[in-house]
């Protein structure tokens, strides 16, 4: 599902963020990317979602070479990739319903379908009574669930989560991780970047460790 071949990424003259990273994540896999701050975890996820281009090397997602993809194809590919961020990245001036509906509206679904799917997803995530709330009115855990709702509403092939529990307390962390496991069970390939050793304790999932831009 995700293949990286000798990927380098440098920002200006600073030390490269990724050095010779080669990685394969198979369809339906659940993988953690871990490492200390500045190890290159976020950059790696940005390469996979093509928020950043590789400086050299190749990145393939669902068989598409991200270096040779045009703007329109990239937009369509991104509709198959759900992304969850530590800072949620919700639109503060749109309510919960509108934030979640965004992904479907972009994909061009008719309004009746959008309404039905958003209601279903929000109910599934326990947010049915928060539809009309705006993000600043929600707790951190609720905001992250909204972000997850937006990420999964299109039944994505891949879910990328960058420190999804970084801003949450232990209870909410467990809640979000349980949610990600459920999404994985439904067939989505999940990649979670985290520096939290708590999350990795006792897990039998695959763990990829990065340090100073290299896989170790």
């Amino acid at each position: 599902m995700i293949q990286l071949f000798h990927v380098y990424k440098a920002f200006g003259s600073r030390n490269p963020a990724l050095i010779d990273v080669s990685l394969t994540v198979r369809k339906g896999e659940f993988a953690f990317i871990t490492g200390p701050s500045g190890a290159g975890k976020t950059t790696l996820l940005k390469i996979i979602s093509r928020a950043e281009k590789t400086s050299s090397g190749q990145a393939l997602v669902n068989g598409r070479n991200l270096n040779r993809i045009n703007e329109r194809e990239l937009a369509f590919l991104r509709r198959r990739i759900g992304v969850v961020f530590q800072d949620f990245k919700l639109l503060p001036r749109r309510n919960v319903f509108e934030n979640v509906a965004l992904a479907l509206e972009i994909a061009g679904f008719p309004l009746s379908v959008v309404r039905k799917k958003v209601h279903q997803t929000l109910r599934y995530l326990g947010l049915a009574n928060k539809e009309d709330c705006y993000p600043p009115q929600l707790s951190g855990g609720e905001q992250q669930r909204v972000a997850v709702a937006r990420a999964i509403i299109n039944n994505p092939l891949i879910l990328l989560a960058d420190e999804p529990t970084g801003n949450l307390d232990p209870d909410l962390t467990m809640e979000i991780m349980a949610l990600l496991r459920e999404i994985h069970i439904r067939g989505t390939t999940v990649v979670v970047a985290t520096h939290s050793q708590e999350l990795l304790r006792d897990t039998r999932r695959r763990i990829v460790t990065l340090n100073k831009g290299r896989i170790i």
Partner: protein, 297 residues
């Protein structure tokens, strides 16, 4: 684009304007100022050219007689003149009237005229010729024809005056096109930068839209509609302010110096609609230019 989609984009644009009222208010205000300067220039240019054209169209012609003409001679000439289109007979000035008028003009120094034996001033007939109705060549034809009349000594008209007006008109047109073009570019520059502010304030939103799979078109269209709406609002505000200033200023001028004879006109409806359409287009184009670098995520 499907109609439903267009409706969605318009809805988004309106919601964005309502959500970012302050930024849009600043944008509309800046646009209104830029358009106001441009519209005011157009109004001044229009009036100058209208006024110059009007003055250029009407010329006064004086027909001087060798002797004080008798009633029959005068009537014959008047009848002949009225065959020409656009000719209006203003007044007949007899030799005595001419002398009285000169005395009035000289005032205290009128005594100088006492030394003259016979009244040397000729009788004359003043006529108005409208080049609008009779064409540019008629005044010359008229002059040539009248001068063949044995009772007529000379015919004078302000040919040079017309030429000067024509020169002023040409200059106004050149200056108008150059200044208008510069003002248009300045307005576009100001507006582009104002729209950049609007877009910059929402760059996080653009980033999120792109990351959840929005195409450039999907991101751009609401901004373009917003730009067009801002242009429309800015253009409307500018025209309303200009109209208010025009109404108040003209009223004042009338009151103080009786300037009504200048006949200052406001922008005709068609021109206002054109300016409004241009404001919309500038808003749209300004958005297009401004969006360029923000959507490359």
């Amino acid at each position: 684009m499907k109609i439903a989609f267009f409706g969605y984009f318009v809805g988004q644009a309106v919601a964005n304007i309502s959500n970012n009222r302050l930024v849009h208010l600043i944008g509309v205000g800046t646009m209104a100022i830029a358009f106001l300067i441009f519209d005011a220039f157009i109004l001044i240019f229009l009036n100058l050219s209208h006024w110059t054209e009007e003055r250029g169209k009407l010329l006064t012609m004086s027909i001087y007689f060798k002797e004080e003409p008798g009633g029959v001679v005068l009537q014959n000439i008047k009848t002949e003149l009225l065959h020409f289109p656009g000719v209006t007979i203003k007044r007949f000035i007899s030799k005595d009237d001419a002398m009285k008028s000169l005395r009035r003009q000289l005032g205290d120094k009128a005594g100088l005229l006492d030394g003259l034996g016979e009244n040397p001033l000729p009788a004359s007939l003043e006529i108005m010729v409208s080049s609008d109705k009779c064409g540019d060549s008629i005044p010359y034809q008229l002059k040539t024809r009248l001068e063949t009349n044995p009772a007529v000594d000379e015919v004078q008209y302000s040919q040079e005056w017309i030429r000067r007006f024509q020169g002023i008109m040409d200059l106004i047109k050149i200056v108008g096109v150059v200044l208008g073009g510069l003002l248009f570019l300045a307005a576009l520059f100001i507006i582009t930068n104002t729209i950049k502010l609007t877009i910059y304030s929402r760059k996080d939103e653009i980033e999120i839209l792109k990351l959840v799979g929005a195409t450039n078109r999907f991101v751009k269209i609401p901004f373009l509609i917003e730009g067009a709406i801002q242009g429309f609002l800015g253009g409307s505000v500018a025209l309303i302010i200009l109209f208010l200033v025009y109404t108040i200023a003209i009223a004042r001028v009338d009151l103080r110096i009786g300037f009504a004879s200048l006949d200052i006109i406001f922008l005709p409806t068609q021109l206002m609609l054109f300016l409004l359409l241009m404001s919309i287009i500038i808003g749209f184009v300004g958005s297009t230019i401004s969006l360029g670098r923000f959507i490359r995520i």
